[in-house]
Symmetry: C2
Subunit: 586 residues, 2 copies
């Protein structure tokens, strides 16, 4: 009935995954992981995404988890396969994304013995995982199986947090790995004798009720009082997949505080913007220039949720403001590298925002302060509108966001795309789920993360990426066909590391061009034949917007390449910024 202990073990793991409500898994082919692979594949309630490159697999799971809030388990065989997960594990740890790593391993007696494809997998990811467990050796044993089911439940609730993050279960298996029948390996009648061990419960083996940190009443009221008495308050929403924009909007409406909303904060786009009396700002990366705000009064209270904002201008503005800055972090970590914040609230930010909103009777902010931001914001986007019909990197981001499907998912690469999104993506009431990998801000795994996010929903997926990131995770494109994801990929190709034009190293050439800009001259069109997507190179904003609209209206995947000159784009950014400054400082 149950052919051997590995089958029993694999099924118990998968059973708990399914009972926790997880509906998909990412599997890379391998031998040692056979019991897990077989058990996942035979389970009707779980979709299998098969990935040949474990690095891409892990980023796919990461992207999917960002979109769903739940982990997509990752299965790989023993050896360096598991090390290929490492970049995504770090990103997940720092961006607080649930991941469940199931790495198959040799049994204990074969470790450190020269056995083939055997490495030291113990604590392979160091402190980057929330929890690590080397599972015991499979056996048809009542208590062991209850322990196993508890561990899988625990792995999932730990991965889901708060705070969410990666969890690593190392899973040793001894041969036979396939479901070959071994007489008496699982004694006849085992399931009947130990139904809890063999079949688990109707639901998860352990049903978690996960609390989140909440301030006590005294502390909350003190914070509420500070907000009520602030004249020039601000809310800063940094990158986060966990911020509830309606909670932030509630507090903003109650206090009248302007909200400076990072493009990855969840707050810059969405139907919550339709709420009256909100000032949600997206242009601050330009207009918080010292030459503009030097004439403004300083803020006196800043409430910060999410990770540090992408905008350096905003970071400097806060650093130099002298304001009381309250960082809200449910994990009690310190994520404020300018070291100018004065208060830490270890609390769930959404609950805290709602609770604080309830303590405020009506807008308390100085109307002039609020008006400053409102006017700057209006003036900024009017000016930008006239600048983004000519082709440069910022215009592509502006158009891609302005015309993004509603509802839709937009994934933005690190390096220049996220910075251009920060500056040129205007707040919209559209229901856009906007993601990027701002935990460690790498350019690795971007395509896979985007396709993973896209796999989680029927909404159209847009990926805006650069040429180095596109090259780096070209393997991720295999998921288009193998995982059945369609995307509109906007490839901003500036032939190398255009971001380095923003840095002073630009002035030192050599080695600037060869070692930093690193032009590669790659023509990505052939990848369309390899991975089955349509490819179009566009040379004007007009043609871009047409191709973009066509792609969104059609099935399949289209890569729209916009070739840009990074130095020229950078100069255009600077010129626009100068116009913003001269217009807004009035």
């Amino acid at each position: 009935m149950i052919p051997n202990r590995n089958v029993l073990w694999g099924r118990a793991i998968v059973d708990e995954v399914a009972k926790a409500g997880l509906d998909a898994v990412c599997i890379s082919p391998g031998s040692r992981s056979t019991p897990l692979t077989v058990a996942f594949a035979e389970h009707n309630g779980i979709d299998v995404f098969s990935h040949l490159d474990e690095r891409s697999s892990a980023f796919f799971a990461l992207g999917r988890a960002k979109a769903t809030g739940r982990p997509t388990p990752l299965v790989c065989t023993s050896g360096t396969a598991a090390a290929n997960f490492h970049p995504a594990v770090i990103e997940a740890s720092q961006a607080r994304v649930p991941l469940l790593l199931l790495t198959a391993d040799r049994p204990p007696e074969l470790r450190d013995s020269g056995a083939n494809q055997t490495i030291d997998q113990e604590k392979l990811y160091g402190d980057a995982v929330r929890w690590y467990r080397d599972l015991p050796e499979p056996e048809a044993d009542d208590r062991k199986l209850r322990s196993l089911r508890t561990d899988v439940s625990r792995a999932i609730w730990t991965a889901e947090g708060p705070p969410p993050g990666p969890v690593h279960l190392n899973v040793p298996f001894r041969k036979p790995l396939e479901p070959t029948e071994i007489p008496d390996d699982v004694p006849e009648g085992f399931s009947e004798r130990f139904p809890l061990a063999a079949e688990g419960r109707d639901g998860p083996f352990v049903s978690p009720l996960s609390g989140a940190p909440t301030l006590d009443r005294t502390d909350r009221e003190a914070l509420g009082e500070a907000i009520r008495t602030a004249d020039r308050g601000l809310i800063v929403a940094g990158p986060s997949d966990a911020t509830d924009p309606t909670a932030v909007a509630e507090l903003a409406a109650a206090t009248g505080f302007p909200v400076l909303a990072d493009p990855l904060s969840g707050v810059r786009f969405g139907t919550h913007l339709a709420r009256e009396a909100l000032v949600v700002c997206g242009g601050y990366d330009s207009y918080l220039d010292e030459r503009v705000v030097g004439r403004w009064s300083d803020p006196d209270l800043v409430l910060r949720v999410g990770a540090p904002p992408t905008s350096k201008t905003l970071q400097f503005f806060l650093r130099d403001s002298g304001a009381r800055q309250v960082v809200v972090d449910p994990a009690g970590e310190w994520r404020e590298a300018r070291f100018s914040a004065s208060d830490l609230a270890v609390a769930d930010p959404n609950r805290l925002c709602r609770a604080l909103a309830g303590q405020v009777d009506g807008p308390t902010v100085d109307p002039d302060w609020r008006e400053r931001f409102s006017e700057a914001e209006t003036g900024y986007w009017e000016l930008i509108e006239g600048e983004t019909d000519r082709l440069f990197e910022g215009a592509v981001l502006a158009q891609a966001f302005e015309r993004a499907p509603d509802p839709g998912t937009v994934f933005v690469s690190n390096s220049m795309p996220v910075r251009d999104a920060d500056r040129f993506a205007r707040p919209r009431t559209a229901d856009l789920a906007v993601f990027g990998n701002r935990g460690a801000s790498g350019i690795d795994g971007v395509t896979s993360s985007a396709l993973g996010a896209g796999s989680a929903s029927e909404d159209p997926l847009v990926l805006v990426t650069g040429d180095v990131a596109f090259y780096h995770d070209a393997n991720g494109l295999l998921a288009l066909s193998r995982c059945g994801v369609d995307a509109t990929v906007v490839l901003v190709n500036n032939d190398g590391g255009g971001i380095f034009h923003l840095l002073p190293i630009e002035g030192f050439d050599p080695p600037f061009t060869d070692q930093f800009k690193t032009p590669h001259g790659l023509d990505f069109e052939p990848l369309g034949d390899l991975y089955g997507f349509a490819f179009e190179r566009v040379e004007s904003v007009e043609r871009f917007t047409e191709a973009y609209r066509e792609s969104l209206a059609n099935p399949g995947t289209q890569v729209i390449e916009v070739r840009v000159e990074s130095e020229a784009s950078h100069r255009t950014r600077e010129a626009i910024h100068e116009r913003v400054v001269s217009t807004l400082r009035g």
Copy 2:
């Protein structure tokens, strides 16, 4: 003169690298690593290989180190870039290949603070590195700089072993990262006042004389006595880049012991085979079948050098032989996962072989025993010759080795290519440097490792790889143009994981095809347009050998794809094996 402390620091590091005689570096573009990148780029004696994907970069450095025996330093920026080195670090650790990892990092005050692109890089690779050091903060300080130069010297000698392996220096830098002049950051006259700190010595700061373990006379003589009195001795040479084939040949000639030489042992191919009275065997993976050797006497003494052999048949033969097995390992590790070996000699294998040869007066082995192997070997290859003119995976490997350029470098992928090389690559006197990644036996990084090995010599480079490995490290192909390496790539495309046909899971379909064989249907020809190589698909052994000859005679890179059906190849292997058995058991 020296614009700032980071320049001083970067130059000191590079100065020591160069003075240690290293002549190349692999650099991936990034900002935090700017002081290292600038210092390497400005040094005339060091070639810079620029890689956009850190995973490929690390494998390139690994392959180059396999070919040169010396590390090629690796430079990357902070963040997940460093995690992408992890797979190669593990391979280097287990295969004993020198690597020197220079990961740039944020300065201490910015760690764990939410600073951008900042992760926990402390001991990032765990126990996989031989030595880890978080370098101090750069400063124009006499003692600090002497410490720095000592650390770089130490890192290199530690990486070079014995045993060789990866070493990790984490290198924090504070802005400015570019060579901007900071008045008094490096005080005027610093170099004159502290010439040793600023300029180092004429040679390395510390010149190492690295000893290797050597047995004392009593132990060596006891071992020599065991060899002299053995009637049926064997030498087993497993995968190793460190085995000196002439040392093994010397012992084999002195004792008359047959040598079972793994294709990656350094012993199966080479001019040492021209020596008289040697029996170097390559066909044992087939003819050590129990049905053949069941009628032979058991060996009574086995001397093992290198890692465990690739051949499972050989592993089982040794396990079941009851022989005294002496494992020679200079690192004193245990690499014998059948747990049938009885003796460990912690000693340099080359010196030991030579010393033991000197203790033996002439062939001591039973001539019949020796003849068994000699006859089996001759009979085996006669039979194989008639089988490898029809297209199957084994024939491709047989032809690729038979016709490999002399001198030449041949890199063999894991999974099926190395197993087919084991069985079908006949020993040759040609000067072939044959490499594979058998430390952790992953299929990741194969192309990059091969190109790195090829970059170390003017000899032609052949890579024999499979379709999954070729896909996995497709990014590595960028090194063809960027690092100026030419190769003849033999791509054995069986559309997925053909190796799984060797495993019992083949009998369980589903999930065999979807989750193990995983046919991807990729047509790799477009990659030729992307990365600039010629692509030809061949459909016969005859056309393969022609295309192979043409490629070797021409510059540039040619990918010769042989499409094969993995199941049919497997059946052919089995059929040939059955003929071998029925012929040889005679």
